[in-house]
Symmetry: C2
Subunit: 293 residues, 2 copies
């Protein structure tokens, strides 16, 4: 049985928050949504679109009377948001976020929430679009996607259970792991790909013939660079929030890349083919959402 | 009006060659296909699949009696193939290749073809799949795709004209450019993305937790690494054949990447956002097959 909530306090009515509200309402998991966004026009738009039922004039007032609170703000705004709402948080309230980094979010919660830390279940739904903003909110965004929860030693078991039921009720696959393992994994499989795609686009457009080159790019380039169109503010925040792990992963990537480039320069065909083959085999056998051998 | 050919001599009956034969026959541009592949089982399979009408026991015999010859072999095999067939090449024959690098192919043709160099119209259809082999041949592979022709000063005008008509007759958009410009462009928009995708996969799978990380990867990773599943032999050849331009593009990429990483390490949020924004804007406005502003 999925958990039922009377009132969702939604802080941040953009793509992630808006899609959550739509999905939770559609699944009958949430009866009423009180929403707040930093920009009043976003909040208003969310109400017009039926994403929220009531506009709250502040984050604090969005929390008032809620039994479920979702922070769907940039990771860099997490600590300030916790501070803004902490006086109305109760131990019966389930609080979650949707941030793509977890250690910094857990640290912020630990610093700010005090005795109510047990109400917070850190969450990262692995879903997104290159476009952001309330106008792209989509009740299907989370369906079939993985959600990582990173509870800590103080997390209340009943809140964790309700969080699992809530995401599963929206059609997600829920996994639990430590915040540090989460951040290393996402540096490798998400933050690095974004960084590489940004860097490649940047390198191409800053060449004299860059625009002509882009006109020749095909489907491989299209798919490889799709994530380069992602939101700059959000990705600035993610990369900075996960700095240590990103730098660590970048070092390992550089070792592989420089190795391959050296093989190209030295025409070491056999070694080069061996490295490509390892990569190609792994990618051929990989399926999204499936555990490896 | 599209050109009509009596007999296509197809050398290499894999994905690219097989798809060409199927498309040309379907469009009524070619009446009969005589095919040769290094592996007899591939040639036999191509005949069983109706891709070729007659199996030739050698590349030379595939050329005999043809008015159109397509080399669809790995770029590293181009020179040897030219040598194998040169004694039966006539000035009335249109000869093309489908290689993803052009300077090395043009150089090989110049060395081998002598007075018949004018028959050769170097071609690069920008199409492919991650899977290779005759069993994936597909008459739709080239439809709507760009084809780059890189004729030289000795190319016969009538052959160039027939080559343009042939590809257009199969639904392609044809462009002409110098081999050097072609190779720089594709190093930037195709060879670098492949190299980066190979290197990232390689770096991830060689970490102790790599397989667990991969199980968490989402749609962004899926699209970014799709090309990492490409054929190792083919990509070894492409990277080696276009070594100079790949190394040049890699330098420019490294400048962008190391800049961004330094900004991450130094928490220079504003600068980092500026670089991401430039990349994101360019990618958002890019459309496949469209000239930039």
């Amino acid at each position: 049985m999925a958990a039922k909530f009377e009132q969702l306090g939604l802080i941040g009515c953009g793509l992630m928050g808006g899609s959550f509200a739509l999905a939770a309402k559609r699944a009958g998991l949430v009866k009423r949504v009180v929403g707040y966004s930093k920009s009043p026009s976003t909040t208003e738009r969310a109400r017009q679109m039926g994403i929220i039922d009531v506009e709250a004039p502040s984050a604090l007032l969005a929390v008032s009377g809620a039994d479920l609170v979702l922070l769907a703000v940039p990771v860099s705004a997490t600590e300030a948001t916790f501070k803004a709402i902490r006086h109305l948080i109760t131990s019966n309230m389930l609080i979650m976020d949707v941030g793509s980094t977890k250690r910094d979010v857990v640290d912020a919660a630990t610093r700010v929430l005090g005795n109510n830390l047990g109400s917070f279940v850190p969450a990262h739904p692995i879903a997104g679009k290159e476009v952001s903003g309330v106008e792209h909110a989509d009740p299907e965004l989370y369906v079939g996607k993985q959600v990582i929860l990173t509870p800590g030693p103080k997390t209340q078991v009943n809140h964790l259970k309700r969080a699992v039921e809530l995401w599963e009720g929206m059609g997600c696959h829920v996994q639990q792991m430590a915040p540090e393992a989460h951040d290393a994994a996402f540096a490798a499989v998400s933050h690095m790909p974004h960084l590489l795609a940004f860097a490649l686009m940047h390198a191409i457009i800053n060449q004299p013939m860059g625009k002509d080159f882009l006109a020749l790019a095909g489907p491989g380039f299209r798919d490889f660079t799709r994530i380069a169109a992602s939101d700059p503010k959000m990705w600035r925040d993610v990369l900075l929030a996960n700095k240590l792990e990103v730098v660590e992963q970048a070092k390992m990537f550089q070792r592989s890349l420089l190795n391959m480039l050296q093989m190209v320069e030295d025409s070491q065909g056999e070694k080069l083919e061996g490295m490509i083959e390892q990569a190609s085999n792994s990618r051929s056998h990989w399926r999204m959402g499936q555990k490896g051998k």
